[in-house]
């Protein structure tokens, strides 16, 4: 069922079994896992079903450090959340991403890739993907007339991505949620405060507000934060009337370790002979689109002590004219419609002389977990009286060294295979230069800020995503990530959410 919280009598009290805060990919997935169960699920969404600028404005905040996208634009504040403009890229994390790596400070998840595998498979139906198959051999058979680069897979391997259509959760799940007998969706229900008992060991209720001036209370046995990294941290920090440092923040970890993917043009690939590289570009299979990106093996990452990252390809003439993501936003005042951003960057290939001969290699690489890259509270408050978020995005030399080394490794392998040569772009050529160019930008992927750990001194949540010190407060989604891995976060955040949901089912 659906209720517009603007129309409720002021100071209503809403009660249920599980209260999910946020109706994006994580929140809706969690809710759907409980559909038709006996429990009453309260699903709170701060916006409505469509974009509303007054609501979106609640996400505005400050950014410092490495230039970043405006906070108002980075997540969508309506039912369906940021699936309203995501591009659909899906791939699971690698095994190494979960391991403790001695060259990556603060790495090491309390769970393994194997723990997530069954949930990855279940995630596929949520985002309308093909079978849970990510081997290059499988997709080679699906994509006609395609072939692999003849590389040593113990050094450079082909990591597969599948592409969701992209599934817009707001469209796909609106009717199932609204028509559900046990999921109670409240729109225009912005949570502004979380209140615990006197010992701050159990959450009693949350306060919801909207710009119609209404304020209500929601009570439940269990609460799940599902607003993504910036807003999850913001809400915990702002709920500080009982715990001055914020809820779950006894060890000053909430908001820290904000991570992005660096997504940047990085090198050119020049081939000896023309090759359309079909397997590495967006290919239709008649069903799901898929493509390979060049990835660096675990052995090579360990030997060279570098981060995990991949290189994708676009034809060089397109790549040369692509604006950096950080500049793309500047061209469009409001990112309400991500399609607008994509449309403003469309162009025809201008130089056909390099067709099939040269490609731009584009990096997607994890950021090293960095406690100084963090979300804090600003002094300014939004129209509902909640302190705004302030993001300081910070990087380390490891990111740049890793990017350079990735292309050296790829260049060596392509040279060994007599296939081509790689040329690093300017900003990667000087080994001693650890500065970041103006084109530095992320992929609009927000991870960390309530990281997992087996030790409360090193994490906000435990291996089951429960906030340390609070019996009934959980966090769903990518804010729990310990490391960022190479792939886009959506598939993994939904998988992690489904795992949390199964855990809650054992408790409920």
């Amino acid at each position: 069922m659906h209720v517009d919280a603007r129309n409720l009598e002021n100071n209503s009290v809403i009660e249920g079994d599980i209260c999910i805060i946020g109706a994006g990919a994580a929140g809706i997935s969690m809710a759907m896992e409980w559909n038709n169960k006996k429990q009453k699920i309260i699903l709170l969404e701060g916006g409505g079903f469509e974009y509303d600028d007054k609501v979106q404005e609640l996400y505005a905040g400050k950014t410092t450090g490495i230039p970043y996208f405006p906070l108002k634009a980075i997540r969508l504040h309506y039912f369906g959340g940021t699936t309203g403009h995501w591009a659909g890229f899906c791939a699971p994390f690698d095994e190494i991403d979960f391991k403790k790596r001695d060259w990556v400070p603060h790495s090491g998840w309390p769970i393994t890739r194997k723990d997530l595998d069954p949930f990855y498979e279940r995630t596929h139906s949520y985002v309308d993907l093909g079978p849970y198959e990510y081997s290059a051999d499988y997709w080679l058979k699906q994509i006609p007339d395609s072939k692999l680069l003849p590389l040593n897979e113990k050094i450079v391997w082909n990591k597969m991505w599948q592409f969701s259509p992209p599934t817009r959760f707001g469209k796909k799940f609106r009717d199932p949620v609204v028509q559900s007998k046990n999921i109670h969706l409240y729109t225009y229900a912005n949570v502004t405060n979380i209140k615990a008992n006197d010992h701050i060991s159990t959450i009693r209720e949350v306060t919801i507000k909207n710009y119609a001036g209404k304020e209500h209370i929601v009570r439940a046995k269990y609460f799940v934060l599902a607003c993504c990294s910036v807003q999850n941290a913001r809400l915990l920090l702002a709920s500080n009337q009982q715990a001055p440092k914020g809820l779950g923040n006894d060890n000053d970890l909430v908001g820290r370790f904000f991570m992005e993917h660096l997504e940047m043009k990085s090198a050119e690939l020049w081939l000896a002979e023309p090759d359309a590289m079909k397997f590495y570009l967006w290919s239709m299979t008649g069903g799901t689109r898929a493509r390979a990106e060049l990835a660096i093996s675990e052995e090579q990452q360990t030997e060279h002590k570098i981060l995990n990252g991949t290189a994708s390809m676009v034809p060089l003439s397109q790549g040369r004219h692509m604006k950096p993501f950080i500049d793309m936003y500047q061209h469009v005042k409001d990112s309400t419609d991500f399609k607008t951003i994509r449309d403003t960057t469309k162009h025809e290939e201008e130089d056909k002389s390099t067709r099939d001969i040269a490609y731009m290699l584009h990096t997607r690489i994890e950021q090293s977990p960095n406690p100084n890259s963090r979300v804090t509270l600003d002094t300014e408050k939004d129209s509902l009286g909640m302190p705004r978020a302030s993001l300081n995005w910070d990087l380390t030399p490891l990111e740049k060294r890793s990017m350079r080394k990735i292309y050296e490794i790829i260049g060596q392998e392509l040279g060994r295979a007599s296939k081509g040569r790689v040329r690093l772009l300017d900003y990667l050529r000087d080994e001693q230069d650890m500065s970041w160019p103006k084109s530095t930008g992320g992929g609009w992927h927000h991870m960390g800020t309530t990281r997992m750990s087996d030790d409360p001194k090193h994490g906000v949540v435990d291996a089951n995503c429960k906030v340390y010190g609070v019996d009934n407060l959980f966090v769903a989604g990518s804010s729990c990530y310990v490391t960022a891995a190479a792939p886009n976060p959506t598939l993994t955040l939904i998988a992690l959410t489904l795992r949390l949901s199964d855990h809650l089912k054992k408790m409920a």
Partner: protein
């Protein structure tokens, strides 16, 4: 670089042997094909080869001598000054591949190159000077 500026190996060979600068330059290789990085001539124009060579010489000033470079390139090979172009081509082709296999690579002006082809570019730039 534009593809129309690429100089194919056969054309390059012909051009090189016919180019007046060879007659006038200070360095005369035992075999002119030594100056032709096997792979790079397919993707680089003459200007790019020269720039790459000059950059390599800046990076490795110890090798800024035509005789030294030729010695490093010929490296106990059985090739003589009268070896045919194909033999020299095959020798450098294998040497380049071996460099990559053994990670004997260097980054020059952003290019990830084998040591051999970087030296060939360097030698070419000395021959041109």
């Amino acid at each position: 670089m534009k593809r129309r500026d690429f100089i194919r190996l056969s054309a390059f060979s012909t051009a090189l042997l016919g180019v007046p600068f060879i007659a006038g330059c200070h360095y005369k290789p035992g075999n002119a094909v030594i100056l032709q990085p096997v792979f790079l001539v397919h993707i680089m124009d003459k200007k790019s080869l020269l720039e790459t060579g000059q950059q390599y010489l800046k990076q490795v000033p110890d090798e800024a001598s035509a005789n030294k470079l030729e010695k490093l390139l010929m490296d106990n090979s059985a090739l003589t000054g009268s070896a045919d172009a194909e033999s020299v081509h095959n020798y450098f082709s294998k040497k380049t591949a071996d460099d990559f296999a053994n990670k004997q690579t260097v980054v020059v002006d952003g290019w990830v190159l084998s040591a051999t082809e970087a030296r060939q570019c360097a030698l070419f730039s000395l021959a041109e000077s």
